[in-house]
């Protein structure tokens, strides 16, 4: 092999080493030592001078010097490049104020969140959850709940009719009847769902809303337990220190009946949040339960109303518009 070829072989292997060089300082040093070091491959080429014809020696010297300079400069260049790259990811040059990669997050609707919270509270005290149909017959929505046709209490709920005998349910209480028809007591359920009222749409009323109905029937269920249960629910839903009052009211399907208010400090007034009462014996008779043997309580609350109080929402229509500027707040 001629000395020219030997020089070129070193050059090639140096280039290959440089190409595969990474920003690993140890590797950089190894390449430097093995090529450019005092005992490196280039230095060793100088040792060949003895075996070279004296007429060729000046040329040989020039070639080796050129190699050495080339290698040194490409080595320096490469090292500069590599250390610069390293610097880029150093803390000094990282701009934390740039936005991160964008991951768009969605959100559950506030009504879903409120409904889930209500379900969680009641399932934690032994209530099961049942669901039922939104279109039902007059019997299950009204008559079985002690509201015969032409009962003045029907005025309390403006109804959408599908035909004379079929309605869009005005409350989830229809499910109460279905449950009791299908099961023997004791039972303890809540029933969430969508209900409909034929009311003009405004900031405070909509043609539909969501309700959670509750029903607990056993041998000795009392008004006192009804109070304890709902107080527990309200305190968990709102605040342990919320002021609550039970006020006598009237529903055809419960007796005694009550409306429950919580005190709203901001508005300086009581706000009604749910209706409840002891299941009326007439309802038991309608589903074939013996009212002498069984007692129970029932309650119903509007999910919208609770969500509006909880999140201080002032217009019920926000819930149904799907405005992402509203949705993204929850």
């Amino acid at each position: 092999m001629s000395y020219q070829m030997k020089i070129e072989a070193v050059r090639n292997s140096f280039r290959a080493a440089l190409d595969s060089l990474t920003a690993d300082s140890q590797a950089i040093e190894e390449v430097r030592v093995s090529y450019l070091g005092r005992k490196g491959k280039i230095a060793k080429l100088f040792a060949l001078i003895g075996s070279i014809d004296s007429s060729e020696r000046p040329k040989f010297g020039q070639l080796i010097n050129a190699l050495k300079n080339d290698c040194q400069s490409s080595f320096d260049e490469k090292v500069a490049l590599l250390t610069a790259e390293t610097k880029d990811s150093n803390e000094d040059s990282l701009d934390f104020t740039l936005p991160g990669a964008v991951y768009r997050r969605g959100s559950l609707h506030p009504l879903q969140q409120t409904m889930d919270e209500i379900k969680d509270i009641f399932t934690s005290i032994g209530f099961s959850v049942a669901y039922g149909r939104e279109i039902d017959d007059d019997y299950h929505n009204f008559q079985a709940l002690n509201m015969p046709k032409h009962h003045p209490a029907r005025d309390m709920q403006d109804t959408f009719f599908v035909d004379d005998n079929t309605v869009l349910r005005t409350h989830t209480s229809n499910v109460q009847i279905h449950l009791m028809e299908e099961q023997d007591p004791p039972l303890r359920y809540i029933v969430p769902g969508r209900v409909y009222r034929n009311e003009a749409i405004s900031f405070k009323s909509y043609c539909l809303f969501h309700q959670v109905e509750g029903l607990y029937i056993d041998k000795h269920v009392s008004f006192s337990e009804l109070k304890g249960t709902l107080e527990y629910f309200i305190k968990r839903m709102f605040d342990e220190n919320v002021k609550i009052r039970f006020r006598p009211s009237y529903f055809p399907f419960t007796e005694p009946s009550a409306e429950v208010d919580i005190w709203n400090e901001e508005r300086n007034q009581w706000m009604e949040i749910l209706g409840c009462g002891m299941v009326d014996p007439a309802v038991f008779e309608n589903v074939g339960y013996d009212p002498e043997k069984w007692q129970g309580f029932a309650f119903g609350m509007g999910v919208e109303r609770i969500a509006m109080l909880k999140y201080k929402i002032n217009d019920i229509r926000h819930f149904y518009q799907g405005d992402v500027r509203f949705l993204e707040q929850f």
Partner: protein
């Protein structure tokens, strides 16, 4: 119902403030609010106007001098009705008016005004702002107006529930206060007088005793029609009723005093001296007092004079027999009408009156008599009328009051606390219930006829808890044990799906279920219609969640957000056949995608538009189990797919067609959507697959295929050659270039091999690869790219 506090005081002592009475009544079940309370008004005194002259610098203003007896005040007044000698209300400097309004010294057009004369509106008494309030000249001056007026005008607004007709009057409300406070109830005396001189007679014939169980009538002559005395006018005004004349006012006064509606006819306008109560003929017409011509149906009950109708029974009297300024002889009607008949009649005409409201909730049949005699008495006192006929009292529907057995043990069991015998007996008496003790802790009870809501033991039980006070009942946090095998919430598993969607950037929507028919039927499904919709825009129930979501996209684009992922879950309905059983309800989960899935960023990311592939990716993330898309014609979609989950069809997905968007009159670009039946998604429990401990071996295969070939077709063939050792196969690169050939593509598949029971070696894998290459070549003409 508006109730005057002063009126209540006639029947029961009240020491509480209006606020406290409202609270007490609310806690008894008569939800009350203070309607008018003047106690907040300060420094507003009665005063006399000494002089009133034109303002030198303003045509419409006057300079007045008024005195409160001690001092004289000069002020500027803009009221047209002010004149010297009037007794008026002076708001002095520093006075506080309703709404926090304060009176200050003011210079008006160069004249200093030391106070203000008040109108009724400024005092919060009424809406009247026509001029200043002028008081009776006998009113003492220098007295705070709240002291003078609060007494006579302060009132409560009570929301009476439908079961309590007895509380729709002052005596009834006073009774509740008396029961709760233990104070005495002063019931007005009823003087039954006999006619001194019988000059007239009336006969009463009830043709429909079911509709009219009782009808009392009597004739009073020589009445003088004139305004009512001030005490009666004040009483009516305080309840929001306008005084008319003594005859009309007397009937209204008794209605508000003890709740029984009566009617006073001008008897001289009766051609025959008889009253016939009958059902109307279908289509019969009748002009009511409000001068409306009413078309009746055969369920309406009519009072007639034998020839023509004179009143729509229990609802409203007629024009023809109405009292007027010349009335001399009147016929008093005090009757009891059947609640359902009155309710149906009132509903059919959309005519709700003070009278119908009381009859439809159940008036007191015995109250008819009391009311009758009170009217006779007041007609004599206020109109000089003399009873001049025998009293007719037709009472074909007389019913005995129910006897209710009340048990202390049942009361205690429902209440959840002990009620003493003493408490029970004391309150039964206060409620006017007649009792007979039949055993220890048991009574037979006969409720008063003015409480039609007391029919059963539970009705009495409610009374005790109500009177005891709901707030007094101790709360119990203890249940009898109740265990159920059932899953507490069958839909709780769906929350996983909702949360996955939220993680994928979806916002949940709740859209209206009521839609226009053309929207609900836009996907060619027969919708369920509502017969009495609010309007045409909300006349049927939705058949799909997609139109609602598309509208929500449209709404948000208009509000500046166009990159949207939205989802909704909810019930939809459709009609399969006529009748109740033909109404079908399904619970759906639907999602829509619009705009960019992700936007270009400073980090070098490029805009990525939502597409069928982002849609498919979302479905893969959502349904962790194997799902399959199959091309399908779907109404509303241009690129439609059927979605199968575990081999079962669960819904559809794809791109919404431009023509469908246009059909809904919406304006948006590409929308991708899915809609699945939620009930199909409640997947079964997970069964664990043991993990293989043997190494994974990867191989890449690069095929050149016809461009028309679906990647999935090749994948299934590759899998079938794998002898169960291919764990996964995924295309990692697709390349199209003229160097590969026209209509060709090169696809790189990455195959993962693994065995559950041994380390795989090349000699096992190589024959599989060869088999794949040969089958791909024979079935699809696929060639390995070199």
């Amino acid at each position: 119902m508006q109730v005057s506090i002063q009126w209540l005081k006639k029947f029961v002592d009240i020491r509480e403030t209006p606020e406290e009475i409202a609270e007490l009544l609310s806690m008894l079940g008569l939800e009350a609010e203070v309607e008018l309370d003047l106690t907040g008004i300060q420094n507003c005194v009665t005063a006399t106007v000494l002089s009133s002259e034109k303002h030198p610098n303003a045509d419409k203003l006057k300079l007045c001098s008024v005195t409160d007896g001690d001092e004289t005040f000069n002020l500027v007044c803009g009221a047209p009705n002010v004149s010297a000698g009037q007794t008026v209300v002076l708001a002095k400097i520093g006075a506080k008016l309703p709404g926090g309004f304060k009176i200050k010294k003011a210079k008006i057009r160069g004249e200093v005004s030391y106070g203000m004369l008040c109108s009724e509106r400024e005092l919060g008494i009424s809406e009247s702002a026509d001029g200043i309030m002028v008081l009776d000249n006998e009113t003492p001056i220098g007295v705070e107006i709240s002291e003078i007026l609060n007494e006579s005008l302060s009132s409560l607004e009570i929301d009476v529930t439908p079961n309590r007709p007895d509380a729709l009057n002052h005596l009834g409300v006073a009774r509740e206060i008396a029961i709760k406070t233990g104070r005495e109830l002063r019931i007005p005396d009823v003087n039954k007088s006999s006619p001194i001189n019988i000059s007239d007679s009336v006969s009463v014939k009830i043709e429909d005793p079911a509709g009219c169980p009782r009808y009392m009538a009597g004739v009073v002559k020589n009445v003088t029609v004139k305004p009512s005395p001030k005490w009666m006018e004040d009483a009516l005004t305080a309840t929001g009723m306008r005084p008319i004349n003594n005859l009309v006012d007397i009937s209204n006064y008794i209605l508000l005093e003890m709740g029984h509606p009566t009617h006073i006819f001008d008897f001289d306008k009766f051609p025959a001296k008889e009253v016939v109560i009958r059902r109307a003929n279908a289509g019969e017409e009748f002009v009511t007092l409000d001068e409306e011509k009413r078309k009746l149906n055969s369920e309406h009950l009519l009072i007639t004079n034998g020839e023509s109708p004179v009143a729509l029974a229990g609802i409203m009297g007629g024009m023809d027999s109405a009292v007027d300024d010349t009335t001399k002889t009147v016929l008093i009607e005090s009757a009891y009408f059947d609640p359902i008949t009155i309710r149906k009649g009132s509903k059919a005409l959309g005519l709700l009156t003070e009278s119908s409201r009381r009859f439809e909730r159940g008036a007191d049949p015995n109250g008819a008599e009391t009311a009758f005699w009170r009217i006779v008495e007041l007609l004599k006192e206020l109109a000089g009328g003399e009873l001049c006929s025998d009293i007719v009292d037709e009472y074909p529907g007389k019913k005995d009051q129910p006897v209710i057995r009340l048990r202390q043990c049942k009361l205690n069991s429902i209440a959840g606390y002990e009620n003493s015998e003493e408490f029970i007996e004391k309150n039964l008496t206060a409620l006017n219930v007649t009792i007979q003790k039949v055993a220890e802790g048991e009574w037979d009870c006969v409720p008063p006829s003015f409480r039609p809501d007391l029919e059963r033991e539970i009705d009495l039980i409610e009374e005790f808890i109500r009177i005891y006070g709901y707030d007094e009942v101790a709360s119990s946090r203890r249940y009898n044990s109740l265990f159920s095998l059932e899953i507490p919430d069958p839909q709780s598993k769906l929350l996983n799906i909702y949360n996955t969607l939220v993680g994928l950037g979806f916002r949940q929507c709740y859209n209206n279920s009521l839609q226009p028919k053309k929207v609900a039927e836009s996907m060619d499904i027969s919708a369920v219609a509502v017969v009495n919709p609010l309007n045409e825009q909300m006349s049927v129930l939705r058949t799909s969640l997609i139109p609602g979501l598309l509208h929500t996209i449209d709404f948000n684009i208009k509000n500046g957000t166009k990159d949207l992922r939205l989802f909704e879950t909810g019930q939809v309905h459709h009609r399969e056949t006529v009748g109740f059983d033909g109404l079908k309800e399904t619970q759906l989960l639907s999602g829509v995608l619009h705009g960019l899935a992700s936007a270009a960023s400073v980090h070098g990311d490029k805009d990525c538009h939502e597409s069928v592939y982002t849609l498919k990716g979302i479905l893969s993330a959502l349904f962790t189990t194997r799902f399959k898309l199959t091309k399908k014609e779907v109404s509303g979609y241009s690129n439609g797919f059927a979605v199968e989950l575990n081999g079962k069809p669960v819904g559809v997905a794809g791109q919404i067609s431009a023509s469908y968007i246009e059909k809904l009159n919406l304006d948006m670009k590409e929308v991708f959507a899915f809609e699945v039946d939620l009930n199909q998604l409640k997947h079964n429990g997970v069964v664990f697959t043991p993990l293989s401990i043997y190494p994974v071996i990867g191989r890449d295969l690069n095929f050149v295929l016809d461009d028309s070939l679906n990647s999935g077709d090749i994948e299934s063939v590759i899998l079938s050659c794998g002898k169960g050792l291919i764990k996964n196969i995924v295309p990692t690169n697709i390349f199209r270039h003229e160097s590969i050939g026209d209509g060709k593509k090169s696809v790189v598949y990455h195959l993962t091999f693994q065995s559950d029971n041994r380390t795989l070696e090349d000699k096992e894998i190589t024959p599989i690869i060869e088999e794949i290459i040969s089958v791909a070549s024979s079935q699809f003409g696929a060639k390995l790219r070199s």
